[in-house]
Structures are given as structure tokens and as C-alpha cells.
Symmetry: C2
Subunit: 114 residues, 2 copies
């Protein structure tokens, strides 16, 4: 099924730490490919460009060409869809609360002590 | 990094269609392992149990034993975290709107015609 293949591509794209880092970089602003490469000095340019292609094919980024520049934008639609698929609308406030509590517990900012 | 490995496990767990189906089954209610096996006749019991183990290790389901029964619950915390990581709070209403529009367009319920 086409839908399943698309989903598979999204999760495989997200299953790599460097690709998740690229999405983090693009969360708040679009970036040129050159800028992204500069932010990931641990990777060579060719590897970073391969990651960008995987993300683009998965529909997680949109690329706009402007002369010699390639601008990369995060497309969060697939992430919104993951959320919509498994988090029931009426349960959202309590799931958010639970996640916040779990985050705090893991960071050690909430303890059983008074 | 421990955090990266955990993330990797989550996305690899989600990158399989049968496992996504299991999460769909558990979205609205907890189910026993026997019931889940019954809902997935295309898989043998052993394969389904393997999928359940992968989901449990990824933290996407919680298992509670009750005598001979194993009750499986969806834990949506990892999904809430994916959402929180890449969707900026102030952008949420517009991302939801865009996703709804894209869904409608793909289903063909919105056209350019009057």
C-alpha cells in the first residue's frame, strides 16, 4: 500500500540521529544546505546532503531553490499526522501532563521529598 | 548516548506496518495478547508476540500481567515527545489546519471547483 510505504519512509528517516539533528536545526527557521553543513562539522558535506535527500523523500523537509542556494524548510505535517493517529483528542491534556511529569522525573527536578 | 538509543528504538518500532496496526488497535482500549493475535489473523502468534516485545522495549506499550492474561496498554508518551520536539507551541493551530487541509486534498474531498 502506498500509504504504508510513505509511513515507512517517514519512520526510517526519523530513525537516524543525524537526521533528527537536522530537523532540530530547522525547527525554528529555514536554512541553506551550506549552513546546515556548517552546523554538522562531524559529517562530511556529501553525507549531510544524503541525509537531506532522505528527509526530502520522506516529506519531512521541503526544498526551495534560489539561484545557487538550496533553502530547506521543516514540513511538520507528517509529525502532526503521527500525533493525530495515536493521541485521542479528548485525552490530549492528560497525555501532555503525564509527559511533562515524566520529563521532570527523568531530569530529577521532581522527587518524592518535600 | 542513552537518549539517542531510546529514540532509535522508538522509530524502528514505528517503522513496521504490523506494529503500527497493533498501536492502532490499542489506541482506544487496552487488549490482552490473545485478543490482539485474534485481530491479526495474517500473522502467527509467535510473530505477533515478537512485535509486542519490540513495542514494549521501545516504551510504546506497557504490559500488565493478570493471572495468565497479559494486558497491553498504549503508552503515548514517546509520541507526545516527538510532537513536542518538532512542533513549536505557537505554531500548533496553523500546523493542525494545514494538515487537515492536506488530508482533505489527498482524500479528494476538497477541489478547486465550486
Amino acid at each position: 500500500m502506498v500509504q504504508d510505504e510513505r509511513q515507512e519512509r517517514i519512520f526510517r528517516a526519523l530513525a537516524d540521529n543525524s537526521r533528527r539533528k537536522i530537523l532540530d536545526l530547522l525547527r525554528d527557521r529555514a536554512m541553506t544546505t551550506g549552513r546546515i553543513c556548517g552546523k554538522l562539522p562531524e559529517l562530511d558535506r556529501c553525507t549531510t546532503m544524503q541525509h537531506l535527500r532522505v528527509l526530502e523523500r520522506a516529506g519531512l523537509i521541503i526544498v526551495r531553490r534560489e539561484g545557487r542556494l538550496r533553502w530547506n524548510y521543516l514540513d511538520s505535517t507528517p509529525i502532526q499526522r503521527i500525533y493525530d493517529r495515536w493521541i485521542i483528542r479528548y485525552a490530549r491534556p492528560s497525555v501532555e501532563l503525564l509527559t511533562r511529569l515524566k520529563n521532570d522525573l527523568e531530569e530529577g527536578s521532581v522527587t518524592g521529598k518535600r
